[in-house]
Amino acid sequence: MNLSGAQIIVKSLQEEGVEAIFGYPGGQVLEIYDALYHSSLKHYLVRHEQGAAHAADGYARATGKPGVCLATSGPGATNLVTGIATAYMDSVPMVALTGQVPCNLLGKDSFQEADITGITLPITKHNYLVKDVKDLAKTIKEAFHIATTGRPGPVLIDVPKDVSVKKTKFKYPDTTCLKGYKPTLEGNKGQIGVAAKMIAESKRPVLYVGGGVVISGASGELFKLAELTLSPVTTTLMGIGAFPETHPLSLGMLGMHGTKAANYAVSECDLLIAVGARFDDRVTGKLDEFAPSARIVHIDVDPAEIGKNVRVDVPIVGDVKNILVELNSKLEQHLSTNWQDKISEWKAKHPLKYEKNGKLKPQFIVEQIYDVTKGKATIVTEVGQNQMWAAQYYKYTKPRSFISSGGLGTMGYGLPAAIGAKVGCPDSIVIDIAGDGSIQMNIQELATAVHYNIPVIVAILNNNFLGMVRQWQEIFYDRRYSYTDITGPDFVKLAEAYGAMGIRVNDPKEVKPAIKKAIEAKRPVIIDFVVEREENVFPMVPPGGAIHKMLGG
């Protein structure tokens, strides 16, 4: 049977098991929307294409399945860009479909033409401009394969209008044939042996865990490795949830706003086992003083990450889970030494803390959210202080329960990503911990949440500041608050105007009841927590400083 390009797209998405797509129509995707109209594929109409990309991203991070977004050519496609870049930086599997002007108008500055494959070249794992309808099914197959395997990432497919109209025989290919794409999944056995030996010899090991552990579904293996070796575990922002933070070996997060225990442990360890992490500058601080006395084992699926920022003693390329299974099989139970005692001591001596002065503190709110949800919610964040407090004061115990834009740090990510996460995991309580600045960047998506009754909760830690920037101005610019004093609307009225529920909280005593009420409402809710304005995120490593030299806390 002959199908149009648009029908092929819909059928192919169904072949890939896609359940939800987030998109926004326009001239060059009319055919695709017409095909959607006749299909059972669930499409969510967002209010801005950036929201579609972030929603697809949140869906992917919450479920592990690829997220799909769709936009028209030109402005529709360019509106996806921030969302695609966000997904790229955090290795999120995503397929972005864009309409394009018909082939005969390409390259002529036609109405709503933008070279989106050119624009997204550096922020996609790969991208395609499909000029022949016969290539469409094969391209979609390849796109999903590339997006979801190896180190995942976004793939964009640009489809000219005439390609979506033209018809051809449809057969969805079973396999792909990409000569230049063969990710290494099995770790080198010899290298794993060397690593096992090093671990056995190590007196002060630390596991430094990144998002790769979450992505490869290796938290079980990581848990086993930690318990076998009694290595304390610290995670990056992206690694949060890979190891239960309630475990005695958990050090919490490391790096710029990491715990003192984590940063001290890394600074004093004799073996750093980096698992699915990439030595980002926000983690390492001053490179010369990062883990200065440690040998380094680096396990990652992306060979280009190895040796990129730090020298590595034992590189192991492959899927983290496969490698950890193999590694664990070579290890014997370690006995506890004074290293573990030292870790406990640091943890006891330097817990995360904030001043309790009876005022409404943002950290307290995050703690209360943890209490009420018993640590079982999916926490999404915006960017800034809210993000760091959400990372610090909630105790994550499950992978994919913390969803945040780490690599790009995209304000406005949280609300649409929360919508995507809730669509993917309708049984989870999904809470976007937000700042009053960030939430205004994609607040329009509240309409999407209300329209489809996607009951996400937005907890605004409202300090009437671009708080994180203000904090830097306070510490490094002598309190010159240049344009960080930001006002917003009355968020309660705003929520109501959108048809959501709005709650305002001024008093610490009202926090818990408000969270409970929001959860029970089973519809989109904004809670406007009016918090102490000039609270800071501590501890803090000044940019470029050594991570064991922290301010505050």
């Binding site: 070249l121 550096p122 794992k125 230049g180 794409y181 992306d302 280009a304 190895i306 040796g307």
Partner: protein, 170 residues
Amino acid sequence: MRHILAVLVENNPGVLTRVAGLFSRRGYNIDSLTVGRTENQNISRMTIVVEGDDLVLEQVTKQLHKLIDVIKINDITSEQYVDRELVLVKVGADAAVRGEIMQIVDIFRARIVDIGQRTLIIECTGDEGKINAVIESLKSFGIKELVRTGKIAMLRGQKFTSLNETREDD
């Protein structure tokens, strides 16, 4: 140090942009880049001359490998190879100096490929040193125009940069 990379890529539109974009984005220095078809019509071959220490080269190679369209990379710098460039030089050539120019052309085993009223076009192939030398020798006549290709290179003998590299001559 300069490295010569022989890179096989899918002959897809945009592949050159992907490679060139990667180099500029990550701040790697390209000395020269040439690209053309190979014995297989679906595959093109790039010869990239890149400046950098071993760490940079390791990153360049790994990052190139991440491009889906890149199939194979050989750093042939430390191997036995043949490399060639082609240059076309248009020089001022009044009757009085033509004889002298012809001599130079002979010495370098170059060729004259166009004779104009006041100019000659000289074609020369060779490794970089030879090309530099021929250009130097022609300078005094007044170089009106010059174009050179950048390096192409191939491993000597039984080593190959091709898809089935184990292939042996029979």
